[in-house]
């Protein structure tokens, strides 16, 4: 299946006058197929790579366990807050796995799992959420941008980075994650437009999990699908079943390939569902019913893949157990490591505001130093 290419930034047909003006109808954009693309449970699943799918499965199981562990840590007071991705693991994992080492991931505040699946130490991924310093790692080391809390603001960053890499002749693709709610922000619009005009090697993955906190998609947009937004930027738009990791992976990898080959950006909407509340602090019963949640639970990303792989003999009980054990081990380590009280030096407050401390900051640092010394003495 291919996505028809759209006219790129070079299209300047509209600066000649109407009498001579002819639209490039031969390159007219296709509307995205409003049926989410699926692989699992369809004949296309036959061609799945067993090795890759087992890896996906192991990561899904680990991701689910990671979610459970992180939520448990909020109850133990070890995390201040955790936005769960239970139900969305297929998107998170596929996003992490589709990238090459030199590529960049731009996660939103919800996407610690994608960062972890890309190889980031979970403790480093979670510093923000435990109330420690914001970014517990060097973004350049992992090519993972800091988690972005202000919604959609990370999208222009991804565009700028991808554009810079292309200008420098480097083979780098940026993959930016955003929620359905985030698509309403002006930054979403500006980022997609810049990406299309610059033909930047960037892929936008919208995880449409049905809600922006309590606000359902129907109050967020009147478009047939969020993928339809691609049309207005002149880039391909794709709709995919976000709980079908094989499908998400395929659509993503096609988009990444196109970006890498100079074919410009793609907008992908992955239809999924946030099974748990917005965060541990949220009460989802205020805005949605059990029936909806239950229906989505029956379309669980881990089970979908497990069912497919076992039915096809690509996964057996041992394989399942192995994945579970690995996940448990990860969880145990994470639990243990998160139980260690983090040690922060208050004097670090003044260290990185600027490359060089201003006089004012030096003064304030001295004041705090004196206060801390006095405390220690008393």
């Amino acid at each position: 299946m291919t996505v028809q290419e759209l006219p790129g930034a070079g299209a300047s047909h509209r600066s000649t006058p109407p009498p001579a003006w002819r639209p490039r109808t031969d390159a007219a954009p296709l509307l995205p197929d409003p049926e989410p693309y699926r692989v699992l449970g369809t004949p296309a699943a036959e061609k799945l790579d067993p090795e890759l799918m087992r890896r996906c499965y192991a990561e899904l199981v680990r991701g689910r366990r990671y979610n459970a562990q992180a939520t448990a840590l909020t109850r133990q007071g070890r995390l201040a807050v955790y936005p769960s991705t239970v139900g969305q693991e297929a998107c998170e994992i596929a996003a992490a796995l589709v990238l090459e080492e030199q590529d960049w991931l731009f996660p939103s505040y919800r996407d610690t799992l994608a960062a972890v699946a890309r190889g980031l130490d979970p403790v480093q991924a979670l510093t923000l959420l435990r109330g420690d310093w914001h970014t517990g790692y060097d973004p350049r080391e992992y090519r993972i941008a800091p988690l972005s809390t202000p919604l959609a603001t990370q999208l222009p960053h991804a565009v700028g980075l991808a554009h810079a890499a292309r200008l420098r002749g480097d083979d780098v693709v940026a993959l930016a994650l955003v929620g359905d709610g985030g698509t309403s922000e002006g930054d979403f619009h500006e980022a997609l437009n810049f990406a299309a005009v610059w033909q930047a090697p960037v892929v936008f993955l919208v995880q449409n999990n049905g809600f922006a906190i309590s606000v359902p998609l129907a109050k967020q947009t009147a478009a047939p699908t969020l993928a339809h937004k691609a049309v207005g930027y002149g880039m391909p738009g794709r709709l995919v079943d976000g709980n079908d990791i094989a499908a998400v992976r395929e659509v993503l990898s096609e988009a990444v390939r196109r970006a890498r080959a100079g074919g410009g950006p793609t907008l992908i909407e992955a239809v999924t569902y946030r099974i748990e509340a917005h965060t541990n602090a949220d009460d989802a019963t205020r805005y949605r019913g059990d029936a909806e949640v239950e229906a989505w639970k029956a379309h669980d990303p881990v089970e979908l893949l497990e069912r497919e792989l076992t039915a096809r003999g690509m996964l057996d009980a041992d394989g399942i157990q192995e994945a579970k054990d690995a996940a448990e081990a990860m969880a145990a380590t994470l639990r243990e490591r998160m139980n260690a009280e983090p040690v922060l030096d208050p004097m670090d407050l003044f260290e990185n505001v600027y490359a060089e401390q201003t006089g004012r900051l030096r003064e304030q640092a001295e004041m705090l130093r004196a206060e801390l010394d006095a405390e220690e003495q008393s």
Binding site: T149, S214, L349, R360, E371
Partner: protein
């Protein structure tokens, strides 16, 4: 006179009540923002309003702050009184162009023909363990923008009264809600809410003779605590609650400082070019010959809001206030 025992109410409840009463009295009052409808807001300040007044009067908007405020401008142009909720301090920033270039200027540019009675509620400040972008004290931006009123309550009673006054104002009001006081309680009778104080009157919350602490919003309780503690050191501190940053009630402030001869301004916002700077500049101008010592400030450091685990070092606390009072040249 007999006093009726009333149950304690929280600031959150008083704010909710203020909107409810305003909506009941005036059909042009509309509440709008992210999650304000069905959910009742992430802090539940708008709880029940959608149910009572319908989703058209208390509306869950799409997630886009410039769009929210811009739509509110249009609604106000048509005669409605929008009450906009910004979910957190830092999430008001996308709406700054609408705020600065339209909300603040519309009355002036139309020479009074088209005032914009918009109330913009912004939960602000730290001390709740919030992660980045959830604890900013962004009042410096608002006070530096002529055309806006900037108001912030520090008590349950004021929360009600000032919000009613803000919604009733024909001018745009940035209504800053000290989020760590949302759950603070006081004896307050929702059935008999106090008379609505106008915007722009400060209040002496505690009288004293040695020096004046000038503060507002989340720092008021800290200052009152410091004033109590100061008695041990022999200082009798007066505490002024500004309640409104624009307009600024200079009469109350100057009268107090002229009386005490010493002043400290306390706020959570960064010190550098924060609202305290204006107060200090004005006090030294108006009270120059009454001052026994320079006017000092106790503020947040000049840093981005710190990680929650370090915020206690950043926020003005009792000790730092007392240390600063001690520097008011008492030996003179």
């Amino acid at each position: 006179m007999t006093t009726v025992a009333v149950k304690p109410a929280t600031m959150a409840q008083a704010l909710q009540r203020a909107m409810r009463d305003a909506m009941a009295e005036d059909p042009t009052v509309h509440v709008m923002g992210e999650d304000v409808g069905t959910l009742g807001g992430v802090f539940r300040i708008t709880d029940g309003l959608a149910k009572e007044f319908g989703e058209e009067r208390c509306t869950d908007t799409p997630l886009a702050e410039a769009g929210i405020l811009g739509a509110a401008v249009g609604m106000a142009m048509y005669g409605l009184r929008p009450v906009v909720e910004m979910q957190f301090d830092a999430f008001a920033y996308p709406a700054f162009e609408q705020l600065i270039s339209h909300v603040a200027k519309m009355r002036n540019r139309t020479r009074g023909a088209m005032p914009l009675p918009i109330t913009i509620r912004v939960p602000y400040g730290g001390g709740i363990g919030g992660v980045e972008h959830h604890s900013d004290s962004s009042e410096a931006y608002y006070v530096a923008t002529p055309g806006l009123h900037v108001v912030t309550p520090a008590t349950v009673e004021d929360a009600y009264g000032l919000l009613r006054a803000s919604i009733a104002s024909d001018d745009p009001v940035v209504f800053l809600e000290p989020k760590r006081l949302y759950w603070s309680k006081a004896q307050w009778d929702p059935a008999e809410p106090a008379a609505v104080p106008g915007i722009g009157k400060a209040l002496v919350r505690r009288t004293g003779a040695s020096a004046t602490l000038i503060t507002y919003g989340p720092s008021l309780p800290v200052c009152l605590e410091a004033a109590e503690a100061a008695r041990e050191e022999g200082w009798d501190l007066e505490v002024v609650d500004l309640r409104s940053l624009v307009p600024l009630d200079e009469d109350t402030v100057m009268a107090s400082v002229r009386r005490t001869g010493r002043a400290v301004v306390v706020h959570e916002a960064n010190g550098f070019a924060g609202p305290g700077a204006e107060l200090v500049a004005r006090i030294q101008e108006k009270c120059f010959h009454h001052l026994e010592a320079p006017v000092l400030r106790v503020t947040g450091f000049d840093i981005p809001y710190p990680p929650p685990m370090l915020e206690k070092h950043h926020l003005p606390g009792v000790d730092r206030i007392l240390d600063t009072v001690a520097r008011l040249q008492w030996e003179n």
